[in-house]
Amino acid sequence: MSRRRSLLAGFLACALLSVAAADAARLPDWARAIADSARPTNVGVAEHAERVLFREQRIEVFADGERRIRLRKALQVSIARPGVALGVFPFRDNTRILSSRAWHLPPGEHAEKAQARAWIDISINAAFFSDSRARVVQVDGLRPGSLVFFEFEAEERPYELSLSEVFYDDSPTDLARLEVVVPPGWSSRARWLRAPTTPTAAVSGASSVWEVRDLPAPDDAPLGESAVERAPHLLVDLIPPATATPSAPRFTDWTAVGRWFEGLAQGRDQLTPEIRAAAEAALRGTETDAFGRISRLARFVRDDVRYLGDEVGLGGYQPRPAAATLANRYGDCKDKATLLRALLSTQGVSSHLTLLNLTDRAAVSADFPSLSVFDHAIVAVRLPPGAAVPDGFAAAVLDSGELGRLLFVDPTDEDGAPGWVSGALAGKKALVLADSATRLVDLPAAGPEAHRIERQLSVEIRDDGSLSCRRISHFFGDPARAARRAYREDKGGYRLELLRRLRRSWIDVAMQTSTFVVESPEGSFVEELSWQVAGGAAAPVPFFPGAADDLPRAALGQRRLPIVFATPFEMRVETTVSHAPADAPLPEARGAREGGWVVATAFDRTGGAVRGRWAATLSQARFEPADFAGLKRFWAAASATAAAVLQSPPTSAP
């Protein structure tokens, strides 16, 4: 990817520099009106580098379902850095761009300048094969106070009639607007997925207009929803008359959406001798229990088929044949899911392709069927009625009613173990494709016990005053995914990070051994460390070194956005200190509990050893700013209790 970025940058520089020549031109009326009413920029430090004064997307729908799109944008520059503005219009191969224009009105100047004839189209998608591009027009020579106007016009042949508009820009926006014009006899209905505080809508004949004012600058913060996920999002359903035959389908219910996908996927899961052989090979020598077989096949697809995105045209929706994915040993999410379904069917296990949105939790609205809301595919495995679900799978099982119990498996998630639903999926609406029984379901969202770290630490105080330590950690669920990813990407770096964390407690730590099991039979990531600390007993011995550091945290002081943990979470540490002085005082057991969390420690003596237990459980995953005080108390309680130490025997204070 880095290679592509560098060459892109080079081309951008070359191509855009040629735009510098400017022609004198009049501003179009729409831009002139904005320019005349624009407020002068403030003196002093501007709050934002630029401000979008106006952003309008106008979509005119034709009787055949095709569209003409016009995007207009006006922005005011406060800080000319680096002196250029880019107008960007994303498009795919089903779009033909008709025109691209830009105008620059420098402050205090009467002459308007147009830079309309130069543009470049660049590839913008990270997928290996992709048709996603963006038309880019650059305006340079900006100064504080400059007004810049962009206008793009295009024709699009859509894959479905409904529209989806996210009111989002990189800068604060005074007015954002969507206008939809439908042909005679057509109508529309709209629904806000996330409504702004003061949305307005106006219908005049064939035209409907939705406006949002005063959108803030996007603000992303750790442990939170992205700015796009929080932006107002409008869905518009375009309803043709019964006699119309537009080229793109309109979906009246989720079953229709499912049928469209299933039509594309039909036959793609066809069994071949190679698929049967692959299933046999994957299951050879393994247990015969149904869950074991499902798990084995899911791991085969997850591990042996590399991810490779192919998002060109209809290929963005249609899976490759399972046989091809198997032969190539590569594919994207829908390819891998289709192959897994085929492999499962060799064992008489039926399953369903399942669609969801990986990036936006609220994108799928139960009463607004659409296909463009999906960007990920997984598999729903039908479980036999009455079969007992093992503990390691319960977190991924849902009783869906008519389709019975479904086990959800994501064979694209290279770091997730079958039996867990990752935080990126948990609780989201997903469409299970099952012909007439197609239905939206809420994916299982497991409790904190499914996403936990269990740690046993044994510390031996040696005669020479050194400490000999051994620690085994089992990571489950999302913590396991994170640990696996970090370890696989850079094993040396992972070890160094562990050492860095230990050195927060003991600067003179000497690592002895470190071994890792990437995926244990029960799906955990296992980390086993041993180390020594010269002279470590001279200072108080920490019972739970670094435990609080493993809790996900973020600064709250200036934060205005909710904290959203990917999943609930639990951490347990049990520490045994052997050869501790018999008269060393035990810390007091402490605990705290509130609505969404609990923290507790306990200590005792067994024989010559002292034992400490620490547990922190966060069962609430979302904290609004009003709840921050409670979250802060959780973190403080966790830190305070995890800081417990085994003191040397008391000495008289001076």
Binding site: R4, L7, L8, E47, A327, R553, Q558, A643
Partner: protein, 676 residues
């Protein structure tokens, strides 16, 4: 002019993008099969089979078994360039499989490749071929003129850990296309590397005085050889280790073996080349500046009133700082330098002085002229941004340089005693942006070009002076800290410039970060001093609350970790071994005074013993004293070195470990009866 940027793929593409990549038809097919870069065996050899993952030895995700290039500018009787490439690799784990996602970085029609092969050889000996018809051209960029650039992509099938992939291609491109700079080493170990360049040798070229040359850099201790003949240059490497990436390492271009191929014209030696460059720049400088305009401006500076040479120079310096607005958007991190050509094309000195604005380079040039007019030897110094790369004297290319400085020498100073100045930088007189220091630059004068080391600043000029007050909330359940910091010299320079260019929103976020906002420290107040004074140092005022409580082993004892965001802690060097040298931004001194008020009802233990740590890299002292209401800590840290050699790593690590140990020792407070 941009620096030479090394990239094995982007560079290749850039080279062809300039020349155009039209394929030559009707070429004798034997022209396409010269040199090496041929397919490897269709089986896994015994030695390949024996390769296994060994992360501790730098062998992790994959091993490049062969990377071979043929770059022949004499193909088709000199009308075309033959480019051939061969890549063979063993995949060791799933993370290494992305090597099978092939990208041919040339804008060519895949069906017009003269040769293509791509195969996966599985551990069981099965060979999976990827036919040329599977190659897909993907548009990268297109423009209004109809010009379109694309890459060719393909995914090799069946790849699994243990498999060997082997692919390659050949094609002819019209005209002569010089090879780009290339990396010899990779992020993976490389068993065999070869780049064979056959430069154009036509009579016309020879008559014009061209000859071909090369430079291999950072391959000194590696098994890299060069076979240089009259008509070809071949660089070979074998058993090259993967490049290690470490914190505080030199820039990648200085630790990763690379090669540059180029044509020389009219000069034979580096001395001749740099002399010619210097003369050219001097000539253009003299042509550019109009004496009259500069003379008038010099009068404005008040330099004539200066009591001595330094005062006169300072007057000129200050006048430029105050009167020539720096329009360079790259002043903070330069990436371009106006070349001699551009100087000739750009405005005159009169224009610059009329506009009262210009780039950093123009400020330097103006300073040179003014200084010369008052009788000071003043020269431009071409410099490199050492966070990106160093200057290589043997690489005969002006594109290496990123910016300019000024070297001045009084008439009574020894010949080699130059003072370096950085007009237009926003730094006080006598200080130079740190990324240009500690490495060699090129001083250009009417006598020619000479290498010169731009020394790093004395640490006493880069000082941060911090006063901290720490207090406990109630009985110690939370800790509040308030501190103010004054920085001089390079300390805070980059941050200050960044704040200057920030919007209000960006500034607030940056100040929060500078005051140490983390998940364990909530910043309540973050302010910066006056940013309007061009040469003033950064002044920061912060206050916040530590959200991770102090250790309270019992109700009667409290242990305070007194360090925090107010201490600029030395970097944590965790690894026991080091592959590269360590590089710091600049020498510096940190002075910190911390006043701690004991929590209500508590009294501090007697002051701990002072700590002193000395090393070749700097010094550290920590002194405690009991005060009426608590403890005062005085911490002094000086980093006097710009870095450490690999062989000195353990000494440096020990120095930093000793400091971290001292900084991490808690202060103990005990509950006292009768104290409120």
């Amino acid at each position: 002019m941009g620096a030479v940027r090394l990239s094995s793929v982007a560079g290749v593409l850039a080279a062809l993008a300039v020349a155009g990549a039209g394929l030559v038809l009707g070429v004798d097919v034997k022209d396409l099969f010269v040199g090496s870069a041929a397919p490897g065996p269709k089986y896994i050899t015994d030695s390949e089979r024996a390769i296994e993952s060994d992360p501790g030895a730098g062998v992790e995700h994959a091993v490049i078994l062969a990377e071979e290039w043929v770059w022949d500018e004499t193909a088709a009787k000199g009308r075309a360039t033959l480019i051939a490439y061969h890549h063979r690799a063993k995949i060791l784990d799933n993370e290494g499989r992305d090597l099978a996602n092939v990208e041919i970085p040339f804008s060519i029609d895949p069906m017009k490749l003269a040769a293509w092969w791509g195969r996966t050889i599985l551990p069981d000996g099965q060979v999976l071929e990827l036919d040329i018809s599977q190659l897909r051209a993907q548009t990268v960029v297109s423009d209004a003129s109809g010009d379109e650039r694309h890459v060719v992509r393909a995914a090799l099938p069946g790849v699994a850990p243990g498999a060997v992939i082997d692919y390659g291609y050949r094609f002819l491109v019209e005209g002569v296309n010089s090879p780009p700079p290339i990396f010899i080493q990779s992020q993976y170990p490389v068993v065999r590397f070869q780049f064979a360049w056959t430069p154009q040798q036509s009579a016309e070229v020879s008559a014009r005085g061209f000859r071909s040359s090369y430079l291999v850099r950072r391959g000194e201790h590696l098994p890299i050889t060069v076979d240089s003949r009259w008509n070809s240059i071949t660089v070979r490497g074998s058993r090259l280790p993967a490049v290690a990436y470490e914190p505080l390492m030199p820039p990648e271009a200085e630790v990763r073996a690379n090669a540059v191929f180029y044509h020389l014209f009219g000069v034979d030696t580096p001395d001749e080349f740099w002399k010619a460059v210097a003369k050219k720049i001097e000539f253009r400088l003299s042509k550019f500046y109009r004496h009259g305009a500069v003379k008038k401006a010099l009068e404005e500076t008040g330099a004539a009133k200066g009591e001595n040479l330094q005062a006169k120079l300072r007057a000129i310096y200050d006048w430029i700082q105050a009167n020539i607005r720096n329009t360079s958007v790259i002043a903070l991190r330069p990436n371009s330098l106006i070349t001699g050509e551009e100087i000739a094309d750009s405005s005159t000195a009169s224009d610059l002085l009329d506009r009262r604005e210009g780039g950093t380079e123009q400020a330097d040039e103006l300073f040179v002229h003014m200084a010369r007019m008052i009788g000071v030897e003043a020269d431009l110094v071409l410099v490199v941004d050492r966070t990106q790369h160093y200057w290589s004297r043997d690489l005969l290319s002006l594109e290496q340089f990123d910016d300019t400085l000024v070297a001045v020498r009084g008439p009574d100073e020894p010949p080699d005693k130059f003072q370096f100045l950085d007009p237009g930088s926003g730094l006080p007189y006598g200080e130079v942006r740190w990324w240009y220091t500690g490495v060699k630059g090129l001083r250009v004068s009417e006598h020619g070009g000479a290498p010169i080391v731009i020394p790093a600043a004395d640490p006493r000029r880069n000082v941060s002076d911090t006063s901290v007050k720490i207090s406990f909330e109630g009985d110690g359940s939370s800790v509040n800290a308030a501190w103010s910091r004054k920085c001089t010299g390079q300390d805070g320079y980059v941050e200050r410039r960044r704040l200057l260019r920030s919007s209000g929103e960006e500034r607030r976020k940056a100040l929060q970060a500078m005051c140490g906002s983390t998940d364990q420290f909530e910043v309540a107040d973050a302010q910066v001093g006056d940013l309007g004074k061009p040469t003033a140092g950064l002044q920061l005022t912060c206050a916040g609350e530590r959200t991770s409580p102090e250790v309270a082993p019992s109700a009667d004892e409290l242990r305070l970790i007194w360090n925090g965001a107010w201490i600029d802690a030395p970097p944590g060097l965790e690894a026991a071994r080091r592959a590269h040298s360590v590089v710091f931004p600049f020498p510096r001194a940190d002075l910190t005074t911390i006043d701690i008020a004991a929590p209500a009802g508590f009294r501090a233990d007697p002051a701990p013993s002072p700590v002193t740590v000395d090393s070749p890299f700097g010094s550290y002292t920590l002194r405690f004293s009991n005060t009426t209401d608590g403890v005062q800590i005085q911490r002094k840290f000086a980093l006097v070195s710009l870095g450490a050699k690999q062989s000195d790593y353990s000494t440096l690590k020990q120095f930093f470990d000793d400091i971290r140990r001292a900084d991490g020792a808690p202060l103990v407070f005990r509950r006292q009866a009768g104290i409120k």
